[in-house]
Amino acid sequence: MNLLEINSLSVAFGSTEKPFHAVDGLDLTVRQGEIVGIVGESGSGKSVTMMAMMGLLDGQGRITAERLQFDGKDLLTLGARERRRIVGKDISMIFQDPMTALNPSFTVGYQIMEVLREHLGLKGSALRQRALELMEMVEIPAAASRLDAYPHQLSGGMSQRVAIAMAIACRPKLLIADEPTTALDVTIQAQIMDLLVSLQQSQNMSLILITHDLAVISEIAQRVAVMYAGQVVELSRVPDIFLSPAHPYTEALLASIPEHSKGARRLSTLPGIVPGHHDRPVGCLLSPRCPYVQDSCRTVRPELTTTSAGAVRCHFPLSGKEA
């Protein structure tokens, strides 16, 4: 059964006459207990999608969708108050930079206990006890003394553990991790990732992992969505996408992983950058950068079409033999 169902979600910024679609007709489903990866370059709309779903865009982006359903509830029609009852409790999120994600003016303990008080109504010693328990669950050493520490007294890895403790405090059904290790030291990255996966299994959560690290996805995710310029360009199961990418962009992403280019003398790169506000092409958004580009690609924008493994948004999907 699908815990999360997103159909044709769009987020537009800027003026109504000349809107900029940061997310453009996005489809995504997440099943109970599943890990789904979302990959793509910076600015491809990964984070905006999740923020829009949680209602964190703060009225700046205009959100439209055919369907935005979580756990049987329609998030589109839900009032702000009801949505807040879900957000932070059943869906929670951890962010990229733990050093700025915690409020510098409050102790770590206060910030964890705040969630428990808000959603579970815990008080007094039970509250403190549960906070301590959570700190221990995320493997923070000397948890009791760290409850009264301020965020700036903790390292990045410790802060991210605190952020995770806050996110899992109310046993959420879905945890969204937005590049949870990007801002951390390489040695800490693996620890945090292991922690996330073990918590996901012990709590039977669904996990959406936003990253641009394909290696991590290949290790832990069951399915993956590849995003480019606000659109999902390919959706597939995990071993398949690595074995036979259907979209040229996916292929290019894979080719840029060092492990995949053994033997080649130079690491493969995709020339150019993700189109911004002023230079979106008329046709396929990848057309200016695509090595297989045809004339029709420059004029007609492709739709997302279902394939045996998932879905792909390309006029000429790769057959998969050559990878």
């Binding site: 964190l56 932070g88 409790k89 510098p104 003016s105 409050f106």
Partner: protein
């Protein structure tokens, strides 16, 4: 924390020495003969002139005069007024409570309404409320306050007769100074002697209203603008997003997670407004005949009472430095990142 205070304190000393140099050289920059300027007469008898030069130490070299000046300051001798023959320090201390009372009242007024306006504008960003609050704030910021005072007097005192025109309290009440704060003094005497002083407190309060508004207008506008921009800045912070991702209500997000951090720069601005306030006091006190430091200095300039100008400026500058120092320390208390810095 103590190291932090100590370091900040160390920075004060050169500034203070600079101030004494400034006030010292002030007297020497006056065009014309210093004795004639001080006495206010021309063509003095040369013998008397020389005596006066010697008595005032003006025949010594400049650096020696400066050290004399510092020595006197350290002994608490700030000179005496040419006009009243009173020690300047004594006059300052008598008049200072009036200015302090007005300044505190104006600051409370400005901080309360400024914070309120700034928070409201930030929450309603881009809406009509925001535009009108910020439009009013910019108008307040652009206000020639001496004119603002005149207009308020014209409307509320002369036309509506709601408030008195000038002074600290009605002349019918002869209130003996105890604390120097008219609100407290009038309240005390009304309690002690209700027969003769009934209504004294309310009267003192009514005298305070217009000067408070006039003096508080520009700080109010500055605080409102600063609060708004600081709030908007903090609202963009990741930890506010975290707070919202926790499912907290907008009220909690604003007042618990945003305002506290947004207050830090606002506090600095409030502290820096003390200077503006002392400058504004010059105008406000002149308009409302408020017997404080500002009016005293302007009167001294009018009557060329140089010892008063010199030492009065020194006292005001010292006051501003001390307040700014206090704000720095307070800043450290509010902001844990600074408090814990080595």
């Amino acid at each position: 924390m103590f190291a932090f205070i100590f370091r900040r304190f160390g920075l004060l000393i050169p500034t203070f020495i600079g101030i004494t140099l400034l006030t010292f050289s002030l007297i020497h920059m006056i065009p014309g003969d210093p004795i004639e300027v001080m006495v206010g007469e021309r063509n003095l008898d040369p013998v008397m002139h020389a005596q006066a030069m010697h008595r005032l130490g003006l025949d010594k070299p400049l650096y020696a005069q400066y050290f004399d000046y510092i020595g006197q300051l350290l002994n608490g001798n700030l000179g005496e007024s040419i006009k009243t023959r009173e020690p300047v320090l004594k006059e300052f201390l008598t008049l200072f409570p009036a200015t302090l009372e007005l300044a505190l009242s104006a600051m409370l007024f400005a901080a309360f309404f400024g914070l309120l306006a700034g928070v409201i504008a930030a929450i309603r960003r881009g809406k009509a409320t925001d535009h009108s609050v910020m439009g009013l704030a910019l108008t307040g910021f652009s206000m020639p306050i001496f004119w603002w005072g005149l207009i308020l007097i014209m409307v509320f005192s002369n036309y509506l007769h709601w408030t008195p025109v000038s002074g600290r309290v009605d002349l019918a009440f002869d209130i003996p100074p105890r604390t120097g704060f008219m609100l407290i003094d009038s309240w005390l005497i009304e309690r002690a002697d209700p027969a003769n002083f009934s209504g004294a407190f309310i009267d003192a309060l009514r005298h305070l209203i217009l000067p408070t508004i006039v003096l508080g207008t520009i700080p109010l506008a500055v605080i409102a603008r600063m609060t708004r921009s600081s709030m908007l800045e903090v609202l963009k912070e990741d930890y506010v997003r975290t707070a919202r991702a926790k499912g907290l209500s907008p009220f909690k997000v604003i007042f618990v997670h945003t305002l506290r951090n947004a207050l830090i720069p606002v506090l600095t601005v409030i502290g820096l407004q003390i200077g503006t306030l002392m400058g504004g006091a010059v105008l406000t006190e002149t308009i409302f005949s408020w017997p404080g430091i500002g009016k005293w200095l302007i009167d001294a300039i009018g009557s060329r009472d140089y010892p008063v100008i010199q030492s009065g400026l020194l006292m005001v500058a010292t006051l501003v430095i001390v307040v700014n120092f206090a704000v720095d320390i307070l800043y450290g208390v509010v902001n844990p990142r600074i408090r814990h810095a080595k």
